[in-house]
């Protein structure tokens, strides 16, 4: 009767096989791989305290949602990984969260678009080597029928009108705010200010003002569904055009300038940030002709015009544009 014996073999061997499989998978994932992410890529963290086998170093950046939602990073990521021979990890976060990650040293560089917050960040010593590498504009979009009648106005005027109309009849006129301390949200606050309104008042003034707490793309979807007005950057707007039912209503205004900056985390302040050289490479690379050319054409095929504008070549001429050295001088 071989039942007992065979059972014993099974009982011992199956767990062993499973364990071997798992160990095999883990080790396979840890083998150094210079190629961009493939299947089962499970390399553990950079070659310092923890890893099983040292893998390719990992360079982490936090990026704003508007850059992410347009898919630009999907395009740029493999390029940078090849160039710098690192793994580029992109964490999707609003400007507020990105800055927090930066302060904690959990990322090595930030790509954001909130000049005031960035200035504070750098003044506090967390960030260094800030450069700008792209720009685009905001616009105010809204329901095709334009119930508040803002078409053609300046941004401040439009906002004031929306405010009055929204308070008067919130069922007809609504505004979707990012409400998440993102770059877009900061810009929105600036426009309210320029319109002569205190933001604290706007926030509490009625059900017409909706704080979504989501990324740019999702907020556009929300605006589309609710027939609301929204401040959006043009690139995300174009990328979502097919999915949403809002029309661009106000497209011109100084306040609409939106510049994308990249900042490295300062290793002097954050002892755990060790990727400064890679960060510098990254910053310079964003300013390089290769990337600037890509930015110049990204989205043209699909949307008719590029989603972002390169700074190189003096493309930005309006007031508020970064100074030449901010987008051309390489960092060391």
């Amino acid at each position: 009767m071989k039942t007992l014996f065979v059972n014993r073999i099974h009982r011992v061997s199956i767990p062993i096989i499973i364990t071997c499989l798992l160990v095999g998978v883990m080790l396979a994932g840890c083998a150094p791989a210079a190629t961009p992410p493939a299947a089962t890529d499970n390399t553990s963290a950079q070659g310092t305290a923890f890893p099983i086998t040292p893998g390719t170093p990992r360079f982490k950046i936090a990026t704003t949602t508007s850059l992410y939602d347009t898919g630009l990073w999907n395009y740029l990521e493999p390029m940078f990984e090849k160039k710098a021979n690192v793994r580029l990890d992109i964490v999707y976060a609003g400007t507020g969260a990105a800055l927090e990650y930066g302060r904690r040293g959990d990322v090595d560089a930030l790509v954001v678009h909130d000049p005031e917050a960035e200035a504070q960040f750098i003044a506090d010593g967390y960030g260094i080597n800030k450069r700008s590498f792209a720009f685009n504009h905001f616009l105010i979009a809204g329901p095709v029928g334009d119930p508040a009648g803002i078409k053609g106005l300046t941004p401040e005027q439009a906002f004031k009108k929306i405010y009055d109309a929204g308070i008067a009849d919130p069922s007809k006129v609504k505004f979707i705010s990012r409400g998440d301390n993102s770059g877009t949200h900061s810009k929105e606050k600036l426009i309210w200010q320029a319109a002569g309104l205190k933001y604290a008042d706007v926030e509490k003034s009625g059900p017409w003002y909706v704080e979504a707490g989501k990324g740019m793309g999702p907020c556009l979807l929300m605006a589309s569904e609710q027939g609301a007005y929204i401040l959006a950057d043009i690139s995300t707007f174009l990328a979502y055009k097919g999915k949403v039912n809002v029309a661009p209503l106000v497209e011109k205004g100084d306040l609409f300038l939106n510049v994308y900056d990249v900042i490295a985390i300062n290793p002097d302040k954050i002892k755990t940030a060790k990727m400064l050289p890679t960060a510098n490479t990254f910053i310079n690379w964003l300013m390089s002709d290769d990337v600037q050319n890509i930015i110049a054409t990204y989205g043209v095929a699909e949307y008719g015009k590029p989603l972002f504008n390169p700074l190189k070549g003096g493309g930005c001429t309006e007031p508020g544009c970064p100074k030449l050295e901010d987008y051309t001088v390489p960092v060391k």
């Binding site: 009767m1 039942t3 007992l4 014996f5 059972n7 014993r8």
Partner: protein, 361 residues
């Protein structure tokens, strides 16, 4: 040679005394039955012997070693014993694996071991059941498996705790037969607890009566049944015609006992005035139409109350001033034309009447 001995064994649970100074001695190779009513302490006693519980006081000696000593290796001791519990307990695996379990935990997986298990399955009548899930067995089948599991390692001592309680008569018989066979074939000592005196009579070499935690009598089944030490034991072992009375007078070893106003002569040295309980074996009473003048000292006039046939025998219940059970053959009952209401004479010798001092029940 005593393979198992308990010395002043005591077990308490809180204020309750479960075993009270039990001194038991079991000979190697015998089947020893511990009988007693429910709650007498039988299970407690067996569990202590198997070292599943610790005694509050006293010692147990197994094959000369003091196994209640803290330095003693309980696992090694238990490996020389095996126990079958009242409720059939099987593991949730196949019948084969159940029976093979004691071998498995001793690291024995050899070919001979495997054939031992198969052979044992045949012996207990479950030959084709090896792959069956043990949980699907009936109570009787499961208990047989438990028994096989117990004997597969040929223990020196087999403990059985009311193994046939709640089982059908066919299985009861089979298990009794198996136990006796195992004992006969391999000489393994068996200590079996039961509340059934008949079972003890069928199976055991010696019997110990456990009542209220005390071992009150030990002897051959015959001795217990026919010479119980006291009325309580007598009541338990199920003697018939247990009657209360008083000794009116006593001389030269013959006492006259007053039972319900009737005089009964019995053999006893107890002094007159003693409150006693007597019992008379139903098979020792002779019924006749006429008052007999044979050697029997007791001759009572009785009225038959009821008759009940058991195969070739007939139990007659009569009113002789007190209830008396008489055993006659069916044929005699027919010949004497016994029927309820008929008047007969019942006679029995003084020696057939056992006298025990009355006790607090």
């Amino acid at each position: 040679m005593a393979i198992l001995q308990t010395v002043d064994l005591e077990q308490r649970a809180g204020a309750a005394v479960l075993l009270n100074k039990v001194n038991l001695s079991v000979e190697k190779g015998e089947i020893f039955a511990v009988i007693g009513p429910t709650g007498a302490g039988k299970t407690t006693l067996l569990r202590l012997i198997n070292l599943l519980d610790h005694p509050s006081a006293g010692d147990i000696y197994f094959d000369g070693d003091k196994i209640t000593d803290p330095s003693c290796n309980a696992i090694q001791v238990r490996r020389r014993m095996a126990m079958v519990f009242q409720k059939p307990a099987v593991f949730n695996s196949t019948v084969y694996e159940n029976v093979a379990y004691p071998l498995k935990i001793r690291g024995r997986h050899g070919k001979t071991d495997r054939s031992t298990v198969s052979g044992l399955l045949d012996t207990i009548g479950l030959g084709g059941y090896a792959r069956r899930k043990a949980k699907t067995l009936s109570g009787g089948e499961a208990q047989r498996v438990a028994l096989a599991r117990a004997v597969v390692i040929k223990p020196d001592l087999l403990l059985l705790d009311e193994p046939t309680a709640n089982l059908d008569p066919g299985t009861v018989k089979m298990i009794e037969r198996l136990v006796m066979e195992f004992n006969w074939d391999s000489g393994m000592t068996v200590i079996m607890s039961t509340h059934d005196m008949q079972q003890a009579q069928r199976v055991a070499h010696r019997v110990g009566v456990l009542m209220n935690g005390q071992l009150v009598q030990v002897g051959r089944p015959h001795d217990i049944f026919y010479s119980p030490d006291n009325a309580r034991i007598a009541g338990f072992v199920g003697v018939h015609n247990l009657l209360k009375g008083n000794i009116k007078r006593s001389e030269s070893g013959i006492a006259v006992v007053d039972v319900n106003g009737k005089d009964i002569q019995a053999v006893s040295d107890l002094p007159s005035g003693s409150a006693v309980e007597i019992y008379i074996g139903p098979e020792d009473v002779v019924l006749s139409k006429l008052q007999s003048d044979g050697s029997a000292r007791n001759n009572l006039r009785c009225t038959i109350r009821s008759l009940s046939s058991n195969g070739p025998l007939c139990t007659v219940t009569a009113d002789c001033g007190f209830p008396l059970e008489v055993l006659v053959t069916d044929r005699s009952a027919v010949e004497m034309e016994l029927r309820p209401g008929k008047e007969m004479y019942a006679s029995f010798k003084a020696a057939a009447v056992r006298v025990l001092p009355s006790m607090q029940r």
